[in-house]
Protein backbone atom coordinates (compact mmCIF):
# COMPACT_ATOMS: atom_id res chain seq x y z
CA UNK A 1 0.00 0.00 0.00
CA UNK A 2 1.12 3.54 -0.71
CA UNK A 3 2.88 4.95 2.40
CA UNK A 4 0.69 8.10 2.36
CA UNK A 5 -2.49 6.02 2.31
CA UNK A 6 -1.15 3.71 5.01
CA UNK A 7 -0.39 6.73 7.18
CA UNK A 8 -3.92 8.12 6.71
CA UNK A 9 -5.43 4.77 7.66
CA UNK A 10 -3.36 4.72 10.83
CA UNK A 11 -4.46 8.28 11.60
CA UNK A 12 -8.10 7.26 11.10
CA UNK A 13 -7.59 4.23 13.37
CA UNK A 14 -6.20 6.51 16.02
CA UNK A 15 -9.00 9.07 15.53
CA UNK A 16 -11.64 6.36 15.92
CA UNK A 17 -10.02 5.07 19.11
CA UNK A 18 -9.94 8.64 20.41
CA UNK A 19 -13.61 9.19 19.48
CA UNK A 20 -14.53 5.89 21.15
CA UNK A 21 -12.99 7.07 24.42
CA UNK A 22 -15.64 9.84 24.54
CA UNK A 23 -18.39 7.68 23.09
CA UNK A 24 -21.50 9.22 24.70
CA UNK A 25 -20.47 12.78 23.90
CA UNK A 26 -19.62 12.02 20.28
CA UNK A 27 -22.69 9.86 19.61
CA UNK A 28 -24.85 12.66 21.07
CA UNK A 29 -23.17 15.20 18.83
CA UNK A 30 -23.61 12.94 15.79
CA UNK A 31 -27.33 12.51 16.55
CA UNK A 32 -27.93 16.25 17.03
CA UNK A 33 -25.93 16.98 13.87
CA UNK A 34 -27.90 14.39 11.85
CA UNK A 35 -31.17 15.79 13.14
CA UNK A 36 -30.29 19.33 12.06
CA UNK A 37 -29.26 18.15 8.58
CA UNK A 38 -32.46 16.09 8.39
CA UNK A 39 -34.64 19.08 9.27
CA UNK A 40 -32.90 21.49 6.89
CA UNK A 41 -32.76 18.96 4.04
CA UNK A 42 -36.43 17.96 4.49
CA UNK A 43 -37.46 21.59 4.37
CA UNK A 44 -35.53 22.39 1.25
CA UNK A 45 -36.48 19.15 -0.56
CA UNK A 46 -40.17 19.59 0.24
CA UNK A 47 -40.46 23.22 -0.79
CA UNK A 48 -38.42 22.65 -3.93
CA UNK A 49 -40.60 19.69 -4.98
CA UNK A 50 -43.81 21.62 -4.28
CA UNK A 51 -42.50 24.68 -6.10
CA UNK A 52 -41.47 22.69 -9.18
CA UNK A 53 -44.78 20.83 -9.26
CA UNK A 54 -46.74 24.10 -8.98
CA UNK A 55 -44.76 25.81 -11.70
CA UNK A 56 -45.06 22.81 -14.01
CA UNK A 57 -48.81 22.28 -13.76
CA UNK A 58 -49.78 25.95 -13.51
CA UNK A 59 -47.83 26.71 -16.68
CA UNK A 60 -51.02 25.47 -18.37
CA UNK A 61 -53.26 28.14 -16.79
CA UNK A 62 -54.79 30.89 -18.97
CA UNK A 63 -52.32 33.48 -20.30
CA UNK A 64 -54.43 36.41 -19.13
CA UNK A 65 -57.38 36.57 -16.76
CA UNK A 66 -59.33 39.78 -16.77
CA UNK A 67 -61.18 40.78 -13.63
CA UNK A 68 -63.39 43.80 -13.23
CA UNK A 69 -62.77 45.90 -10.16
CA UNK A 70 -65.31 48.07 -8.39
CA UNK A 71 -63.98 50.16 -5.50
CA UNK A 72 -60.85 48.04 -5.47
CA UNK A 73 -62.76 44.76 -5.23
CA UNK A 74 -63.44 41.98 -7.69
CA UNK A 75 -66.84 42.44 -9.32
CA UNK A 76 -68.93 40.66 -11.95
CA UNK A 77 -68.29 41.21 -15.65
CA UNK A 78 -71.44 42.94 -16.95
CA UNK A 79 -73.07 42.16 -20.32
CA UNK A 80 -71.35 43.85 -23.24
CA UNK A 81 -67.96 43.87 -21.51
CA UNK A 82 -66.62 40.99 -23.57
CA UNK A 83 -67.59 42.81 -26.75
CA UNK A 84 -65.84 45.97 -25.57
CA UNK A 85 -62.55 44.09 -25.59
CA UNK A 86 -63.10 43.99 -29.33
CA UNK A 87 -60.52 42.49 -31.54
CA UNK A 88 -57.16 42.91 -29.87
CA UNK A 89 -54.35 41.68 -32.07
CA UNK A 90 -52.73 38.56 -30.66
CA UNK A 91 -55.74 37.39 -28.64
CA UNK A 92 -56.71 33.97 -29.92
CA UNK A 93 -59.71 33.30 -27.77
CA UNK A 94 -61.71 35.12 -25.11
CA UNK A 95 -64.15 33.38 -22.89
CA UNK A 96 -66.35 34.51 -20.00
CA UNK A 97 -65.95 32.20 -17.01
CA UNK A 98 -68.33 31.41 -14.21
CA UNK A 99 -67.01 30.27 -10.88
CA UNK A 100 -67.50 31.00 -7.22
CA UNK A 101 -67.35 29.65 -3.70
CA UNK A 102 -69.87 27.68 -1.73
CA UNK A 103 -69.66 27.06 1.99
CA UNK A 104 -70.94 23.64 2.95
CA UNK A 105 -72.12 23.72 6.58
CA UNK A 106 -72.28 19.90 6.68
CA UNK A 107 -68.50 19.54 6.73
CA UNK A 108 -67.61 23.19 7.42
CA UNK A 109 -65.67 23.42 4.18
CA UNK A 110 -65.54 25.75 1.21
CA UNK A 111 -65.98 24.35 -2.28
CA UNK A 112 -65.08 25.99 -5.58
CA UNK A 113 -68.01 25.79 -8.01
CA UNK A 114 -67.14 26.14 -11.66
CA UNK A 115 -69.49 26.14 -14.66
CA UNK A 116 -68.64 23.98 -17.66
CA UNK A 117 -70.33 23.76 -21.06
CA UNK A 118 -73.38 21.47 -21.32
CA UNK A 119 -71.34 19.15 -23.57
CA UNK A 120 -69.14 18.30 -20.58
CA UNK A 121 -71.55 18.38 -17.65
CA UNK A 122 -75.27 17.85 -18.20
CA UNK A 123 -77.88 19.83 -16.29
CA UNK A 124 -78.65 18.27 -12.92
CA UNK A 125 -75.30 16.53 -12.67
CA UNK A 126 -71.95 17.48 -11.15
CA UNK A 127 -68.37 16.31 -11.25
CA UNK A 128 -66.54 16.55 -7.94
CA UNK A 129 -62.96 16.57 -6.72
CA UNK A 130 -61.88 13.44 -4.88
CA UNK A 131 -61.15 15.13 -1.51
CA UNK A 132 -64.71 16.45 -1.51
CA UNK A 133 -66.06 13.04 -2.55
CA UNK A 134 -64.11 11.42 0.29
CA UNK A 135 -65.30 13.95 2.85
CA UNK A 136 -68.97 13.65 1.82
CA UNK A 137 -68.80 9.92 1.03
CA UNK A 138 -69.74 10.37 -2.64
CA UNK A 139 -69.41 7.97 -5.53
CA UNK A 140 -70.60 8.24 -9.16
CA UNK A 141 -74.43 8.14 -9.48
CA UNK A 142 -74.96 9.22 -5.86
CA UNK A 143 -77.10 12.26 -5.32
CA UNK A 144 -76.24 15.19 -3.13
CA UNK A 145 -78.12 18.37 -2.33
CA UNK A 146 -76.77 21.79 -1.53
CA UNK A 147 -78.75 24.64 -0.04
CA UNK A 148 -78.11 27.70 -2.16
CA UNK A 149 -77.36 31.14 -0.74
CA UNK A 150 -80.97 32.02 -1.52
CA UNK A 151 -82.12 29.18 0.77
CA UNK A 152 -83.38 26.82 -1.96
CA UNK A 153 -82.38 23.17 -1.99
CA UNK A 154 -80.77 21.86 -5.20
CA UNK A 155 -80.22 18.15 -5.85
CA UNK A 156 -77.42 16.94 -8.12
CA UNK A 157 -76.35 13.54 -9.38
CA UNK A 158 -72.62 12.88 -9.24
CA UNK A 159 -71.66 12.09 -12.83
CA UNK A 160 -67.99 11.51 -12.05
CA UNK A 161 -65.34 11.92 -9.39
CA UNK A 162 -62.18 13.62 -10.67
CA UNK A 163 -58.99 11.59 -10.59
CA UNK A 164 -57.34 11.40 -7.14
CA UNK A 165 -54.04 12.11 -8.92
CA UNK A 166 -55.23 15.66 -9.52
CA UNK A 167 -56.18 16.34 -5.90
CA UNK A 168 -53.54 19.02 -5.57
CA UNK A 169 -55.58 21.07 -8.06
CA UNK A 170 -59.10 19.76 -7.80
CA UNK A 171 -59.63 18.74 -4.17
CA UNK A 172 -62.59 21.08 -3.59
CA UNK A 173 -63.80 21.46 -7.17
CA UNK A 174 -67.47 21.06 -8.15
CA UNK A 175 -68.08 21.24 -11.89
CA UNK A 176 -71.66 21.87 -12.97
CA UNK A 177 -73.48 23.09 -16.05
CA UNK A 178 -73.80 26.81 -16.80
CA UNK A 179 -77.60 26.69 -16.36
CA UNK A 180 -77.29 25.03 -12.96
CA UNK A 181 -74.60 27.47 -11.91
CA UNK A 182 -76.73 30.50 -12.79
CA UNK A 183 -79.81 29.01 -11.10
CA UNK A 184 -77.92 27.92 -7.98
CA UNK A 185 -76.19 31.25 -7.34
CA UNK A 186 -78.99 33.32 -8.93
CA UNK A 187 -76.33 34.75 -11.18
CA UNK A 188 -77.71 37.51 -13.39
CA UNK A 189 -78.03 36.53 -17.06
CA UNK A 190 -75.15 37.74 -19.26
CA UNK A 191 -72.81 38.32 -16.29
CA UNK A 192 -69.57 36.44 -15.80
CA UNK A 193 -67.06 36.05 -12.96
CA UNK A 194 -64.05 36.89 -15.07
CA UNK A 195 -62.69 36.55 -18.58
CA UNK A 196 -59.94 34.15 -19.69
CA UNK A 197 -57.93 35.16 -22.73
CA UNK A 198 -55.48 33.06 -24.63
CA UNK A 199 -52.60 34.80 -26.36
CA UNK A 200 -50.69 32.89 -28.98
CA UNK A 201 -47.34 34.64 -28.67
CA UNK A 202 -45.90 34.85 -25.14
CA UNK A 203 -43.98 38.00 -26.16
CA UNK A 204 -47.27 39.80 -26.73
CA UNK A 205 -48.90 39.06 -23.38
CA UNK A 206 -47.74 42.28 -21.73
CA UNK A 207 -48.80 44.38 -24.72
CA UNK A 208 -52.21 42.71 -24.71
CA UNK A 209 -52.53 43.42 -20.96
CA UNK A 210 -51.59 47.06 -21.49
CA UNK A 211 -54.15 47.36 -24.31
CA UNK A 212 -56.82 45.78 -22.10
CA UNK A 213 -56.12 48.30 -19.31
CA UNK A 214 -56.43 51.15 -21.77
CA UNK A 215 -59.65 49.83 -23.28
CA UNK A 216 -61.17 48.91 -19.90
CA UNK A 217 -59.75 51.14 -17.15
CA UNK A 218 -61.75 49.38 -14.43
CA UNK A 219 -60.23 46.00 -15.25
CA UNK A 220 -57.32 44.14 -13.71
CA UNK A 221 -55.44 41.78 -15.98
CA UNK A 222 -53.70 38.91 -14.17
CA UNK A 223 -50.95 37.36 -16.26
CA UNK A 224 -49.87 33.73 -16.09
CA UNK A 225 -46.36 34.81 -15.10
CA UNK A 226 -47.88 36.54 -12.06
CA UNK A 227 -49.71 33.35 -11.09
CA UNK A 228 -46.45 31.43 -11.30
CA UNK A 229 -44.57 34.10 -9.37
CA UNK A 230 -47.25 34.11 -6.66
CA UNK A 231 -46.58 30.42 -6.02
CA UNK A 232 -42.81 30.81 -6.13
CA UNK A 233 -42.94 33.57 -3.53
CA UNK A 234 -45.59 31.77 -1.48
CA UNK A 235 -43.39 28.74 -0.92
CA UNK A 236 -40.26 30.87 -0.46
CA UNK A 237 -42.14 32.74 2.23
CA UNK A 238 -43.29 29.58 3.96
CA UNK A 239 -39.81 28.07 3.84
CA UNK A 240 -38.60 31.31 5.43
CA UNK A 241 -41.23 31.11 8.17
CA UNK A 242 -40.30 27.53 9.08
CA UNK A 243 -36.62 28.47 9.03
CA UNK A 244 -37.35 31.39 11.36
CA UNK A 245 -39.17 29.05 13.72
CA UNK A 246 -36.24 26.63 13.56
CA UNK A 247 -33.65 29.38 13.89
CA UNK A 248 -33.40 28.90 17.66
CA UNK A 249 -32.71 25.18 17.31
CA UNK A 250 -30.21 25.76 14.50
CA UNK A 251 -28.42 28.41 16.54
CA UNK A 252 -28.35 26.13 19.59
CA UNK A 253 -26.77 23.41 17.48
CA UNK A 254 -24.29 25.87 15.98
CA UNK A 255 -23.21 26.86 19.51
CA UNK A 256 -22.95 23.19 20.56
CA UNK A 257 -20.92 22.27 17.48
CA UNK A 258 -18.72 25.33 17.77
CA UNK A 259 -18.13 24.64 21.45
CA UNK A 260 -17.30 21.02 20.73
CA UNK A 261 -15.15 21.78 17.73
CA UNK A 262 -13.32 24.89 18.83
CA UNK A 263 -12.89 24.42 22.57
CA UNK A 264 -10.54 21.66 23.62
CA UNK A 265 -11.20 19.72 26.77
CA UNK A 266 -8.34 19.25 29.23
CA UNK A 267 -8.26 15.60 28.24
CA UNK A 268 -7.88 16.41 24.55
CA UNK A 269 -5.22 18.97 25.35
CA UNK A 270 -3.25 16.40 27.36
CA UNK A 271 -3.64 13.91 24.52
CA UNK A 272 -2.12 16.38 22.06
CA UNK A 273 0.73 17.09 24.46
CA UNK A 274 1.51 13.39 24.81
CA UNK A 275 1.36 12.87 21.06
CA UNK A 276 3.78 15.75 20.52
CA UNK A 277 6.04 14.42 23.27
CA UNK A 278 6.26 11.00 21.69
CA UNK A 279 7.22 12.52 18.39
CA UNK A 280 4.04 13.34 16.41
CA UNK A 281 4.38 16.30 14.09
CA UNK A 282 2.00 19.28 14.20
CA UNK A 283 0.82 18.34 10.69
CA UNK A 284 -0.10 14.81 11.82
CA UNK A 285 -2.15 16.10 14.74
CA UNK A 286 -4.00 18.53 12.49
CA UNK A 287 -4.59 15.76 9.93
CA UNK A 288 -5.98 13.49 12.64
CA UNK A 289 -8.42 16.19 13.79
CA UNK A 290 -9.49 16.92 10.21
CA UNK A 291 -10.33 13.24 9.87
CA UNK A 292 -12.33 13.45 13.09
CA UNK A 293 -14.31 16.47 11.84
CA UNK A 294 -14.84 14.88 8.43
CA UNK A 295 -16.01 11.53 9.80
CA UNK A 296 -18.57 13.14 12.12
CA UNK A 297 -19.87 15.79 9.72
CA UNK A 298 -19.92 13.59 6.63
CA UNK A 299 -21.75 10.78 8.45
CA UNK A 300 -24.29 13.30 9.78
CA UNK A 301 -24.75 14.88 6.35
CA UNK A 302 -25.24 11.57 4.53
CA UNK A 303 -27.53 10.05 7.19
CA UNK A 304 -29.56 13.26 7.56
CA UNK A 305 -29.87 13.68 3.79
CA UNK A 306 -31.06 10.11 3.17
CA UNK A 307 -33.52 10.31 6.09
CA UNK A 308 -34.86 13.63 4.72
CA UNK A 309 -35.43 12.12 1.26
CA UNK A 310 -37.35 9.19 2.72
CA UNK A 311 -39.33 11.52 4.99
CA UNK A 312 -40.34 13.88 2.18
CA UNK A 313 -40.96 11.53 -0.73
CA UNK A 314 -42.13 8.39 1.08
CA UNK A 315 -43.82 9.72 4.19
CA UNK A 316 -45.21 12.94 2.70
CA UNK A 317 -43.08 15.23 4.89
CA UNK A 318 -45.31 14.52 7.88
CA UNK A 319 -43.30 16.83 10.13
CA UNK A 320 -43.67 20.05 8.11
CA UNK A 321 -46.68 19.39 5.92
CA UNK A 322 -49.22 21.40 7.95
CA UNK A 323 -47.14 24.56 7.83
CA UNK A 324 -45.90 24.26 4.28
CA UNK A 325 -49.05 22.96 2.66
CA UNK A 326 -51.55 24.87 4.75
CA UNK A 327 -54.46 23.38 6.56
CA UNK A 328 -58.11 23.13 5.75
CA UNK A 329 -61.04 20.77 6.09
CA UNK A 330 -60.66 19.50 2.53
CA UNK A 331 -57.09 18.49 2.66
CA UNK A 332 -55.70 17.20 -0.62
CA UNK A 333 -53.72 13.97 -0.47
CA UNK A 334 -50.87 13.94 -2.92
CA UNK A 335 -47.42 12.57 -3.43
CA UNK A 336 -44.73 14.80 -4.80
CA UNK A 337 -42.52 13.97 -7.72
CA UNK A 338 -38.97 13.80 -6.35
CA UNK A 339 -37.28 16.94 -7.61
CA UNK A 340 -33.80 17.60 -6.30
CA UNK A 341 -31.84 20.73 -6.95
CA UNK A 342 -28.09 20.00 -7.05
CA UNK A 343 -27.29 23.53 -5.89
CA UNK A 344 -29.47 23.06 -2.81
CA UNK A 345 -27.62 19.89 -1.86
CA UNK A 346 -24.28 21.57 -2.46
CA UNK A 347 -25.31 24.55 -0.31
CA UNK A 348 -26.44 22.26 2.48
CA UNK A 349 -23.15 20.35 2.26
CA UNK A 350 -21.17 23.56 2.35
CA UNK A 351 -23.03 24.94 5.36
CA UNK A 352 -22.95 21.73 7.39
CA UNK A 353 -19.74 19.82 6.64
CA UNK A 354 -17.28 22.64 5.91
CA UNK A 355 -17.81 24.92 8.96
CA UNK A 356 -17.54 22.03 11.42
CA UNK A 357 -14.40 20.63 9.86
CA UNK A 358 -12.89 24.13 9.69
CA UNK A 359 -13.86 24.99 13.29
CA UNK A 360 -11.90 21.98 14.51
CA UNK A 361 -8.65 23.28 13.05
CA UNK A 362 -7.87 26.56 14.83
CA UNK A 363 -7.68 25.35 18.48
CA UNK A 364 -5.87 22.19 17.44
CA UNK A 365 -3.31 24.17 15.55
CA UNK A 366 -2.90 26.49 18.57
CA UNK A 367 -2.44 23.54 20.95
CA UNK A 368 -0.23 21.64 18.55
CA UNK A 369 2.32 24.45 18.11
CA UNK A 370 2.70 24.95 21.86
CA UNK A 371 5.43 23.22 23.79
CA UNK A 372 4.25 19.68 24.81
CA UNK A 373 5.40 20.22 28.36
CA UNK A 374 3.31 23.40 28.72
CA UNK A 375 0.28 21.75 27.09
CA UNK A 376 0.42 18.74 29.43
CA UNK A 377 0.82 20.88 32.54
CA UNK A 378 -1.98 23.31 31.61
Amino acid sequence: MHPWLEKQLHLIDFTLASLARRKTKNVGLLLAYTLIVFVLASLSLFTHALRSEASYVLAGSPEVILQRMVAGRHDLIPPGYLERIGRIRGVQKKEGRLWGYYYDPVVNANYTFMARPASEVADGTIMVGSALARERGLAPNNTISFRSYAGKLFGFTVAAVLSPDSELLSADLVLLSENDFRRFFEYPEGHYTDIALSVANPQEVRTVAAKLSTALPDSRPILREEVLRTYQSLFDWREGIVLTVLAGAILAFAILAWEKASGLSAEERREIGILKAIGWETGDIIRMKVWEGLIISLTAFLLGGIAAYVHVFHFGAAVFAPVLKGWSVLYPRFTLVPAVDGLQIATLFFFTVVPYTAAVLVPIWRAAITDPDAVMRA
Binding site: L169, L173, P332
Partner: protein, 109 residues
Protein backbone atom coordinates in the same frame (compact mmCIF):
# COMPACT_ATOMS: atom_id res chain seq x y z
CA UNK B 1 -10.39 -5.92 10.05
CA UNK B 2 -9.00 -2.56 11.19
CA UNK B 3 -11.50 0.09 12.35
CA UNK B 4 -10.49 2.59 9.64
CA UNK B 5 -11.44 0.11 6.90
CA UNK B 6 -14.83 -0.52 8.50
CA UNK B 7 -15.58 3.20 8.90
CA UNK B 8 -14.37 4.12 5.42
CA UNK B 9 -16.41 1.27 3.94
CA UNK B 10 -19.48 2.45 5.87
CA UNK B 11 -18.95 6.03 4.72
CA UNK B 12 -18.48 4.89 1.13
CA UNK B 13 -21.65 2.80 1.39
CA UNK B 14 -23.58 5.79 2.75
CA UNK B 15 -22.18 8.09 0.05
CA UNK B 16 -23.16 5.56 -2.61
CA UNK B 17 -26.67 5.23 -1.17
CA UNK B 18 -26.95 9.03 -1.05
CA UNK B 19 -25.77 9.39 -4.66
CA UNK B 20 -28.11 6.65 -5.89
CA UNK B 21 -31.13 8.00 -4.00
CA UNK B 22 -30.61 11.62 -4.97
CA UNK B 23 -29.23 11.00 -8.43
CA UNK B 24 -31.14 8.01 -9.70
CA UNK B 25 -34.50 8.12 -7.96
CA UNK B 26 -34.88 11.86 -8.41
CA UNK B 27 -36.68 13.19 -11.40
CA UNK B 28 -39.93 11.86 -12.66
CA UNK B 29 -40.61 8.27 -13.57
CA UNK B 30 -42.95 7.41 -16.43
CA UNK B 31 -45.92 7.29 -14.03
CA UNK B 32 -44.99 10.62 -12.47
CA UNK B 33 -44.57 12.23 -15.87
CA UNK B 34 -47.96 10.88 -16.93
CA UNK B 35 -49.60 12.23 -13.77
CA UNK B 36 -47.94 15.64 -14.16
CA UNK B 37 -48.98 15.83 -17.82
CA UNK B 38 -52.55 14.85 -16.91
CA UNK B 39 -52.64 17.54 -14.22
CA UNK B 40 -51.32 20.14 -16.60
CA UNK B 41 -53.94 19.12 -19.14
CA UNK B 42 -56.60 19.47 -16.43
CA UNK B 43 -55.33 22.98 -15.63
CA UNK B 44 -55.46 23.89 -19.32
CA UNK B 45 -58.87 22.37 -19.86
CA UNK B 46 -60.64 23.98 -16.90
CA UNK B 47 -58.51 27.11 -16.85
CA UNK B 48 -57.44 26.54 -13.23
CA UNK B 49 -55.11 29.09 -11.70
CA UNK B 50 -54.33 27.87 -8.20
CA UNK B 51 -53.48 24.85 -6.08
CA UNK B 52 -56.26 23.56 -3.83
CA UNK B 53 -54.02 23.68 -0.77
CA UNK B 54 -55.80 26.10 1.53
CA UNK B 55 -59.52 26.27 1.03
CA UNK B 56 -60.40 28.44 4.02
CA UNK B 57 -60.83 31.87 2.45
CA UNK B 58 -61.00 33.09 -1.12
CA UNK B 59 -57.63 34.80 -0.91
CA UNK B 60 -56.00 31.62 0.38
CA UNK B 61 -57.81 29.31 -2.06
CA UNK B 62 -56.92 31.52 -5.04
CA UNK B 63 -54.01 33.68 -3.89
CA UNK B 64 -53.16 34.60 -7.47
CA UNK B 65 -56.69 35.89 -8.15
CA UNK B 66 -57.31 37.65 -4.85
CA UNK B 67 -57.89 41.36 -4.95
CA UNK B 68 -55.04 43.64 -4.08
CA UNK B 69 -56.42 44.66 -0.69
CA UNK B 70 -57.01 41.23 0.79
CA UNK B 71 -55.63 42.16 4.23
CA UNK B 72 -58.66 44.27 5.06
CA UNK B 73 -61.06 42.77 2.61
CA UNK B 74 -64.03 42.00 4.81
CA UNK B 75 -64.44 45.46 6.27
CA UNK B 76 -62.07 48.34 6.92
CA UNK B 77 -59.35 47.34 9.39
CA UNK B 78 -60.69 43.76 9.53
CA UNK B 79 -58.11 41.58 11.22
CA UNK B 80 -56.84 38.45 9.59
CA UNK B 81 -58.35 35.40 11.27
CA UNK B 82 -57.67 32.42 9.04
CA UNK B 83 -54.62 30.38 10.06
CA UNK B 84 -53.36 30.12 6.50
CA UNK B 85 -53.71 33.86 5.99
CA UNK B 86 -50.80 34.45 8.31
CA UNK B 87 -48.68 32.16 6.17
CA UNK B 88 -49.55 33.64 2.79
CA UNK B 89 -46.77 35.89 1.63
CA UNK B 90 -47.36 39.53 0.90
CA UNK B 91 -47.26 40.30 -2.79
CA UNK B 92 -43.65 40.55 -3.78
CA UNK B 93 -44.02 42.60 -6.91
CA UNK B 94 -41.62 45.40 -7.72
CA UNK B 95 -42.87 48.89 -6.98
CA UNK B 96 -44.82 50.46 -9.85
CA UNK B 97 -44.55 47.30 -11.89
CA UNK B 98 -48.19 47.64 -12.92
CA UNK B 99 -47.87 51.35 -13.63
CA UNK B 100 -48.11 50.72 -17.35
CA UNK B 101 -51.27 48.69 -16.82
CA UNK B 102 -53.01 51.29 -14.65
CA UNK B 103 -56.17 52.91 -15.98
CA UNK B 104 -55.56 55.75 -18.38
CA UNK B 105 -57.80 58.75 -17.84
CA UNK B 106 -58.23 61.52 -20.35
CA UNK B 107 -59.14 64.12 -17.73
CA UNK B 108 -56.86 65.11 -14.83
CA UNK B 109 -57.41 63.11 -11.60
Amino acid sequence: MRPSTVVLALLAGLALAFAVIFGHFSGSTATDAERLAANRALVEHYGLTDLALFTEARYTRHPSQADLHSAFQDHPSALEHFPTGSLVSPRSLPLFRDASLAGKTTSPD
